[in-house]
Symmetry: C2
Subunit: 410 residues, 2 copies
C-alpha cells in the first residue's frame, strides 16, 4: 500500500474548527486506499502563549527546558486532530515526536534528525489508523525532548516520508504552490507545475516563506518528491522534484524578493585587524542571520565588510557588534535602512553567464539603483531601495518572459 | 542524603510570576542539603483551554487522545518551573511522567501506577539538580501517555516519594493544614498538628478538597508521611502519618461538611425487579459519584433506594436513570435538593458506640432535622437541610470540644 505524508501548520490548524476541516480532508485522502501520516505543528496562539510565559520568567532560557516547553504545542494539535478524525468517523492515533520514533542529536532548539524508527507507525497502519505526528520535535539518545529549529515541521514530514519509503510529502499551505513571482506584487505571476529541488532551495533562501530550505535539502538528498498545495482551494499545487521535464529551456524560473532588509557596514583601519570569520562567528552565536556579504577596500588599504540582515534582527545585531567592538577590532560601523532584495532564480542559469548582465542592463534602463549584488550557480540577487522593489520584480518578471506558459508533455 | 518530594498545584502555579515564587521556595528547600523532587500540575487556565478545545471538536473524546492532550499541561508547568529555578540561580531539570519513569497500566483517564523507575531521577540528583516532574501522568507498557485521574498529582508525588525512599511528601496548598472544621464556617476551628491516615481518608472522602483519598491510601500502604502546608504562609502544617501520638483520648477529631448535595430516591414495585448493583453500575459507567446510600422498604414490600450525589452531577444522573428506566425496572424516581452533609471524624470512635448517639441527641436538641445517616468505623455523617449546615457544624464542633488544645508531647 502506498504511503503519503501530509503536513498542516499555521492558519490551517489555528482553531478547533479549522482542525475539524483538516480531519475531514485527511479522512478523504486515506479513503483513497493509502497509509497516511499527518504531521502538525503547534497552534500559533499556543506557541505565542508558551513563549510569553517563558519570557515572563527568564531572558535567557535554557535550551533543554525551552524544548520541553515548546514541544507541548504540537502535541496538543496532534491529539486534537486525532480527536477530530475520530469524531468524523475515521480512525486515528496521535504521537509525540518520541512516540513516532524521531531520534535526534542532543542539539537543543536546533536538533538534527539521526534516524526514524518507523516500527510503531507501521503497527498502527495495520490497524487502519491515520497516524498524526507532532512535528518540529524528536528525542535525543539521552531521552531528552528536542526541537528541530526553523523549518522543523516540514523537516519532520520529509524525514518520516523517507523512513517510511513514502510516495511523496504534501505540504498544505496558505498558497497554491510556487509562483514565478509573488502574485501580490507581480500581476502576471504564474504558478509553476514543477520546480527542481535546487531552484526551490534558492526560492526558499530568498525569503519565500513557504518551505524552509532545510526540508528541501533533506528531500533532495533522498529524492523525496514534495508537493506544495493550497489548504483552502482544491487546485493542483507545485511538485518539487529532482529533474524538471521540458523546462531547461527557460533560463529564469522565477523572481523572488525580500523587503525590509538593512545593510550593515563595518570598517577596519588595516588588514591586520580585520577578521571576517570573527564578525560572523559572533553574529552566528547570537543567532543573527546574515545574508549577502560583500567585502570591499576603501583607500586601497582600509577594508570594509558589508552584509544584509533583516529588520527584525537589526537592533540585536547592533547591540552584539557594539559589545564586541574591542575584540573584533573594527574602527566604525555604518548602516543603511530601507532596502529590499530582488532575485532571479533558474537552474539553467549556471551555463549562461549572460543572465546577470541582462538583469543589470534592464535595471539600469529602468533607473533602478543596485546597491549590492550576490550570485550563486542558479540565482542572482540585487539589493535595491525598498521603494523600487515592486517595480524591479515586475520589470525582471517581464524581462525573462515568466508569464509565458511553459511547454509541458505531462 | 535525605530526599523530599514536594507538590505544587492550583493557585500556587497559576501564573509565571507565581511559578517564580515557587522556584525561590524550592531553591531554599534544596539548600538545606537534600535531594528534591518537585511535582507540579497543569496551570488551571491551560487545563481549561485544552478541555475547551477538545469540547469544540467532540462530545465523546477517546480517552487515549484526551490523555495525550491533557498531559501537555503539566509538562508546560514543569519546564516553566525548571526555567524559573535556573533563572533564580538554581539547578533544575524537568521531566514528563514517562521521563520520570512513572509506569502505569493502560487505563486511560484513570491509570494506576504500577511502578516508578527512579534511575534517571537519581542520576540528576548526582548533578545537584532539583528534579521537576509533571504530575498526574505516566506511561503505559505499550508506550501510551496516561493520566492518573482525580488526585493524580498528589498520587504522583506520593508514588515518587515511596520509590525514592523519601523522608516525606510536602503538599503545598491554599490552606495551612487540616483543621478540626472549616475555619470559614466554624470560628473556633483549630489546625491539627497531626492526623492519622485513616482520619485523613475520612476527611478527604467528606469533601475536604485538600487531598484526594487515593494519595492518602497510597501513603498509608507504604507508611509515607505527608505534610499539608500553606503555599502562602510560612507556618507549620499538618503531618499525616500512621500513629498519632497522645490524641487517642479525643473521640472526635474534626467536623467536615459538603454543601449542595441532592438526594435521589428510586422506587420499585417489588423485590423481584429491584437491583441495587445494576443502578450503581449504570451510574458508575457514566462516572457519576454516589455518596451515601440508604435502602428502605415502603408498605412492607416496595423497596426504595436513596442516595446522594453532588449538584453538578444531578442533571447527568437524571438523564442516565431516565434512559435506563426500562432495563433497571424501577417504577418511580424522586429527588430532594437543598441538602448538605455534616460529618464527625475520629479514629477512636470505633470503640465508642455512644458517639453517634451523642451527635443525634445534640442535633435533636438544636432542632436540626436529620434526613439520612451514614456511618463508618471512624466517622458519622448526617444529611441536613442546606440552611442548617453551618449551625450543625458549629454545634458539633462545640459538642465534641474540638476547640480545646490537644495534649502533645512532641
Amino acid at each position: 500500500m502506498q504511503t503519503i505524508v501530509v503536513k498542516f501548520g499555521g492558519p490551517a490548524i489555528a482553531t478547533p474548527e479549522k482542525i475539524v476541516q483538516v480531519a475531514k480532508k485527511v479522512i478523504k485522502e486515506q479513503a483513497k486506499g493509502i497509509n497516511l501520516v499527518v504531521v502538525v505543528s503547534s497552534m500559533t496562539s499556543i506557541r505565542r502563549d508558551l513563549r510569553q510565559f517563558a519570557a515572563e520568567i527568564t531572558d535567557e532560557p535554557s535550551k533543554r527546558e525551552m524544548d520541553a516547553l515548546i514541544s507541548t504545542g504540537a502535541q496538543m494539535t496532534s491529539s486534537l486532530l486525532a480527536l477530530a478524525i475520530q469524531e468524523q468517523g475515521g480512525k486515528a492515533v496521535s504521537f509525540s515526536g518520541w512516540q513516532a520514533g524521531i531520534q535526534t542529536n542532543e542539539t537543543h532548539r536546533n536538533a538534527r534528525i539521526d534516524f526514524v524508527d518507523i516500527e510503531r507507525i507501521e503497527q498502527h497502519f495495520e490497524f487502519g489508523e491515520i497516524v498524526v505526528v507532532s512535528g518540529f520535535q524528536g528525542i535525543s539518545e539521552a531521552g531528552n525532548i528536542t526541537t528541530l529549529g526553523k523549518g522543523g515541521s516540514e523537516t519532520s514530514a520529509v524525514a518520516l516520508a523517507i523512513a517510511l519509503n513514502a510516495e511523496r510529502v504534501d505540504i498544505f499551505s496558505m498558497v497554491e504552490g510556487i509562483f514565478t513571482a509573488d502574485p501580490q506584487i507581480v500581476e502576471s505571476a504564474r504558478k509553476l507545475p514543477e520546480i527542481s529541488y535546487d531552484e526551490m532551495l534558492e526560492f526558499a533562501n530568498l525569503g519565500t516563506q513557504i518551505l524552509h530550505p532545510r526540508s528541501v535539502e533533506l528531500a533532495k538528498k533522498f529524492n523525496m518528491p514534495i508537493v506544495v498545495l493550497s489548504n483552502e482551494q482544491d487546485v493542483e499545487g507545485t511538485l518539487i522534484k529532482g529533474d524538471v521535464s521540458m523546462e531547461k529551456n527557460l533560463l529564469v524560473r522565477g523572481v523572488a524578493y525580500e523587503s525590509d532588509i538593512i545593510r550593515l557596514t563595518i570598517g577596519y583601519d588595516s588588514y591586520e585587524t580585520a577578521s571576517l570569520a570573527e564578525v560572523f562567528s559572533v553574529l552566528a552565536e547570537h543567532e543573527i542571520n546574515v545574508d549577502i556579504i560583500v567585502q570591499a577596500v576603501i583607500d586601497g588599504v582600509k577594508p570594509t565588510i558589508s552584509f544584509t540582515i533583516s529588520k527584525e534582527e537589526f537592533a540585536e545585531a547592533l547591540r552584539v557588534l557594539e559589545s564586541s567592538k574591542l575584540s573584533l577590532g573594527f574602527s566604525f560601523a555604518d548602516f543603511e535602512v530601507g532596502l529590499a532584495k530582488v532575485s532571479i532564480v533558474g537552474s539553467a542559469m549556471a551555463s549562461n553567464p549572460g543572465v546577470a548582465a541582462r538583469m543589470f542592463a534592464r535595471l539600469g534602463r529602468e533607473h533602478i539603483p543596485v546597491k549590492m549584488v550576490s550570485t550563486s550557480e542558479i540565482k542572482v540577487s540585487v539589493v535595491v531601495p525598498q521603494e523600487e522593489m515592486v517595480r524591479a520584480a515586475n520589470t525582471l518578471h517581464d524581462e525573462f518572459n515568466l508569464a509565458m506558459k511553459e511547454i509541458s508533455i505531462s
